[in-house]
């Protein structure tokens, strides 16, 4: 092998080494994943198991005591009404928004597609608080405007419809996403066939589109139901005053509102909530399996859109109104109120920074902001990294550990933050761990609760990296480490940033874990906000909600920008990073490329 005079660098290889196959490779990563899976499993199973055990020990007496509570019946009824109504309305609105954006000429392009997701980037408490300021009787801004116009309506957000209204605003994105996806994969020829048969756009929507996307709507229904059941920030602001009993509020107040805390009641309610959520997921799985993909054609979407004619602006305004109601108006109200000494419902009052000084002038306020930032960046960052590692492993190794790491990361989605809050107090606050009142217990709770969000978001980007991209690197002579650093990580980094943004908003905006697990020493903004809310200071609460928003929005912007690097912007809409199958529209592409 001395002959071929190839003046070229040879592959690096330690001389004489012959690697024995398989096994050895990837092993350090396997060890890491084993540890992560073990720790995560323990963080889920131990607290939930302990809580369940406590409840079982309480026996039927415990349940009887719960059912005898004066509020139990009301709570069951109110919660059911709110959850069912919200789910139906949110899905209907989401379907309408998705249809307008994706299938009619009233859509506002790519920006319009993303607009209904805006509320996901706002802390929900900001929306709820904003609506208090907009529609509280007499002094709400909207009431002021209605009065000024001479309309004798007095909006009252502190009512059942008011509560449901805000719930719908904040939950629409959860239904919008799957429905939009369904519209995109739906074969447009189905709709075209109906239109050719003489049906008008609205009729097509009602008779064809809606039915074709039914599975996605069902998925949205379940998801919105689950979110509505779990949400704490909206009802704690809006439901308490009109005396509407919501399950999530009762769970938290069993611990926070009483002395000594009623752990047994909190535990039983949590189990109840977890069971209902579990039932919802199972229902969704079954119904989705039953009628899956009956509708998805092979032809890609992006076909013709319905021309709405004179109806174009009414439909377009649905999008605009939604954005105004869910984001613009509440934030505007918060800004106005936070800058005034005394809130009287007038838009022009006396301007002041007092409310912000009340936050930042106190050491509690400063440390709360600091702690929230810490959790958002460090806890959130670690959560996303763990999620990404587990998802990479799950997709690269079809072993038992791979399946476990995927499963474990998604399990907590079926449980919810209030449930974990209670379980964590029971399991870790006292001996032997004695983590009560530490930053660690809060960090661990954030980690477990937001791991599934991070996992789902990162999994999408991990799954979209085709195997051959890594194989090509390996065949080019790169080691596993180099392939990981230079190929895999850069490709999934945008997904990691997007996941981080999502988790960050949740952590900063979280109220339920904050009120159950934080103390003045470890305060986060959510903890402080509830504290001030209970003291009844609108101006400071408005300031705090805005501080939350201000903490998230710029960071989210940066992260979404990082999530769209230059190579992605250069890409021509290939959804999947498998460069294959680029059908030859060569001529046009050539020209545009040459023109640059």
């Amino acid at each position: 092998m001395s002959s071929p005079a190839r003046a070229r660098p040879r592959r690096r290889r330690a001389s004489g080494t012959t690697r024995v196959r398989l096994g050895a490779r990837f092993s350090a990563f396997s060890v890491l994943i084993t540890i992560l899976v073990g720790l995560t499993a323990a963080l889920i199973a131990y607290p939930i198991g302990l809580m369940s055990w406590r409840v079982i020990q309480g026996g039927s007496d415990g349940w009887a005591k719960l059912f005898d509570e004066f509020w139990f019946g009301r709570m069951a009824i109110d919660t059911t009404i709110v959850v069912v109504t919200t789910s139906v309305l949110a899905v209907a609105l989401a379907a309408l928004l998705a249809w307008v954006n994706e299938r009619t000429d009233a859509g506002i392009g790519a920006v319009g597609d993303a607009l209904p997701l805006l509320p996901l980037l706002l802390p929900t408490v900001a929306t709820a608080m904003g609506w208090v300021l907009l529609a509280i009787p007499n002094v709400g801004f909207l009431n002021g405007i209605l009065n000024g116009l001479g309309i004798p309506w007095d909006l009252n957000i502190y009512t059942l419809p008011g509560l449901i209204f805000v719930y719908v605003l904040v939950t629409v994105p959860y239904a919008y996403l799957p429905i939009l996806a369904a519209f995109r994969t739906l074969d447009p020829s189905l709709e075209e066939a109906a239109r050719v048969s003489g049906a008008g756009p609205l009729k097509v929507f009602l008779t064809v589109s809606v039915r074709a996307i039914a599975p996605a709507m069902l998925a949205g229904l379940v998801l919105v139901g689950a979110v509505t059941l779990s949400l704490y920030s909206v009802p704690v602001i809006l439901a308490t005053r009109p005396g509407i009993e919501m399950l999530s509020v009762r769970i938290v107040s069993a611990i926070r509102g009483r002395f000594p805390p009623a752990y047994d009641i909190a535990g039983m309610l949590s189990i109840l909530l977890a069971m209902v959520l579990l039932g919802l997921w199972l229902l969704q799985r079954r119904s989705l399996a039953a009628r899956r993909f009956a509708t998805v054609g092979t032809r890609g979407a992006g076909g013709s859109v319905a021309r709405l004619g004179k109806w174009k602006w009414p439909f377009r305004s649905v999008i605009l109104f939604y954005i105004a109601f869910s984001a613009v108006l509440p934030v505007a109200a918060l800004v106005l109120v936070s800058l005034q000494t005394f809130w009287s419902g007038d838009i022009i009052g006396e301007w002041t920074w007092d409310n912000y000084l009340a936050v930042f002038g106190r050491s509690l306020g400063l440390s709360a902001v600091r702690n929230s930032a810490f959790h958002a960046l460090v806890t959130g960052g670690l959560t996303v990294l763990v999620a990404a590692s587990m998802m990479i492993y799950a997709h690269r190794r079809r072993s038992l550990l791979g399946k476990l790491s995927q499963g474990i990361a998604l399990v907590p989605a079926a449980i919810t933050n209030t449930v974990f809050g209670v379980a964590f107090i029971l399991a870790f606050a006292g001996p032997p761990f004695r983590l009560g009142g530490t930053t660690l217990i809060l960090a661990l709770a954030f980690f477990v609760v937001y791991l599934p969000y991070a996992s789902i978001a990162t999994e999408v980007s991990v799954a979209s990296v085709d195997r051959s991209l890594e194989e090509a690197s390996s065949l080019s002579g790169a080691t596993e480490g180099r392939t990981f650093r230079r190929i895999l990580i850069p490709l999934i980094l945008p997904g990691i940033f997007a996941a981080w943004a999502l988790v960050l908003v949740r952590i900063v905006g979280d109220l339920s874990l904050a009120v159950m697990l934080a103390t003045p020493n470890t305060a986060v903004v959510g903890f402080l906000l509830i504290d001030v809310w209970e003291a009844g200071s609108f101006g400071v609460v408005a300031a705090l909600s805005l501080i939350m928003t201000a903490m998230t929005v710029p960071v989210v912007m940066v992260m979404l920008w990082l999530g769209r690097p230059r190579w992605k912007r250069a890409d021509r809409g290939q959804k999947r990073w498998r460069p294959a199958a680029a059908t030859e529209d060569q001529g046009t592409r050539r020209e545009t490329v040459a023109a640059r």
Binding site: M1, S3, P4, R6, R8, P9, R10, R11, R12, R13, S15, G16, T18, R19, V20, R21, L22, R25, D466, S468, L469, E471, A472, S473, S474, L475, S476, G477, A478, T479, E480, R482, R486, I487, P490, L491, P565, R566, W567, K568, A570, D571, R572, Q574, W577, R578, P579, A580, A581, A582, T583, E584, D585, Q586, R589, R590, V593
Partner: protein, 397 residues
């Protein structure tokens, strides 16, 4: 950083293949098996006792239908699959030896591969994509980029180096992937159906390009495809694969003109196949009784495939449709040998040739008439003639 393969391995590899100039052997595959277990426990022999050797600047095409094991064999060479048995040597290095427990990962083999999906990294420019194999080997960035742009010129992508891989067309991505595969001058370049994702026109152009590059750069390659035209176009040698085994190995002309069995005959090109019994010898021809009547095949054709034309022997004969002459009318003069009267059942004008299906009493004959400005019409009676040298033997019946 250079690595020397140890000499004992090399000499062993040379010893096992005595025929050609042994120092040019680039790839040596011996007794390689690979079995997959399907879900449900059924075992599938994807690669079954393969022996191959590949010489410098040769392009070996693995040709076969999907599921014949050609891609698995390629991935075994690449190190992406691990055979169950056997030995593979690449560029003088033993990269796999089951008996000695050796299996080098892809990055330690002197290979590179062009994927069906091209597998260009979308987060890198074409330039960086192409320079990557050099960068991995520790070549300085400026040098690597310069060489990359030379290779981009070579494949006709001058000036597109700064484009991101996701923003170019399929054909351009394909060329860039080709440049990336060849830039590090691997001992063997592997091609996994690289032309199957583009339309016929582009495919033909790239095939020509590949041959030009082969002349200019002189690479050695194993090339997997299911398209026989593509195989004919690029191959130095073709290995027709069937169910994990090599059905026939030879240069394109041999594989087409003298297929060794019915499978190879039918997989490459069109073939009229007539089983029959050897009945007599006339001059240099062997007469075989078939459904068409007595067919005369040149005795040489028996020798080519090593079949003994013993009287009473059962054989299968093959005639390629383009070797059959068709002439108008069938007035029934003196019946020449290998000449039949037939009726045209259907005709299909395909531009470069016209395809006729003709029927006799006992059998159908597929005929390609090359120059036929005025195609014969259906129902017409014609005379078909085939020279005895064109009547091939594809083994026993």
């Amino acid at each position: 950083m250079t690595v020397k393969s140890n000499d004992s391995e090399t000499s062993h590899a040379e010893a096992s293949d005595a025929t050609p100039a042994t120092d040019t052997v680039r790839v040596e595959v011996s007794e390689v098996d690979k079995t997959f277990v399907r879900e449900g426990g059924e075992e599938v022999r994807a690669v079954d006792d393969i022996n191959l050797s590949l010489h410098r600047e040769e392009i070996l095409v693995l040709l076969g239908p999907s599921g014949c094991g050609k891609s698995t064999l390629l991935r075994c060479l690449a190190g992406l699959e691990h055979p169950d048995r056997g030995r593979i040597t690449i560029g003088g290095d033993v990269v796999f030896d089951h008996g000695r427990g050796i299996s080098l990962p892809p990055n330690e083999r002197d290979v590179n591969m062009m994927f069906q999906s091209y597998a260009l990294w979308p987060h890198m420019t074409l330039e960086s994509n192409v320079a990557y194999p050099l960068r991995v080997r520790g070549v300085k960035k400026s040098v690597a980029l310069r060489q990359a742009s030379e290779y981009l010129d070579l494949v006709g992508l001058t000036g597109l180096g700064r484009q991101y891989a996701g923003s170019v067309s399929g054909g351009q991505a394909q060329r860039a992937a080709l440049a990336r595969t060849l830039i590090s001058e691997p001992a063997v370049a592997l091609f996994d159906e690289p032309l199957s994702n583009v339309d016929a026109k582009v495919r033909a152009r790239l095939r020509a390009e590949l041959r030009r590059l082969h002349k200019e750069v002189g690479f050695t390659a194993v090339y997997v495809t299911h398209d026989q035209i593509e195989a004919m176009g690029v191959a130095s040698r073709i290995a027709v694969m069937r169910e994990g085994r090599i059905a026939q190995l030879g240069n394109p002309v041999d594989v087409y003109e003298t297929p060794h069995d019915r499978y190879s005959a039918q997989f490459i090109g069109e073939a009229n196949l007539y089983p029959g019994t050897v009945s007599s010898r006339v001059d240099d021809d062997v007469v075989v009784d078939t459904d068409l009547g007595p067919l005369r095949a040149a005795a040489r054709n028996f020798d080519l495939v090593g079949t003994d034309p013993a009287l009473g022997g059962e054989v299968t004969l093959m005639i390629r449709p383009e070797y059959i002459r068709v002439s108008r009318g069938g007035d029934g003069g003196t019946p020449e040998p290998n000449s039949w009267r037939a009726r045209i059942e259907s005709s299909l004008y395909a531009g470069s040739h016209t395809e006729y299906v003709c029927s006799l009493e006992g059998a159908d004959v597929l005929v390609w008439e090359m120059a036929a400005p005025v195609p014969l019409s259906e129902g017409e009676v014609v005379t078909l003639t085939a020279p005895s040298w064109a009547v091939r033997v594809v083994g026993p019946r």
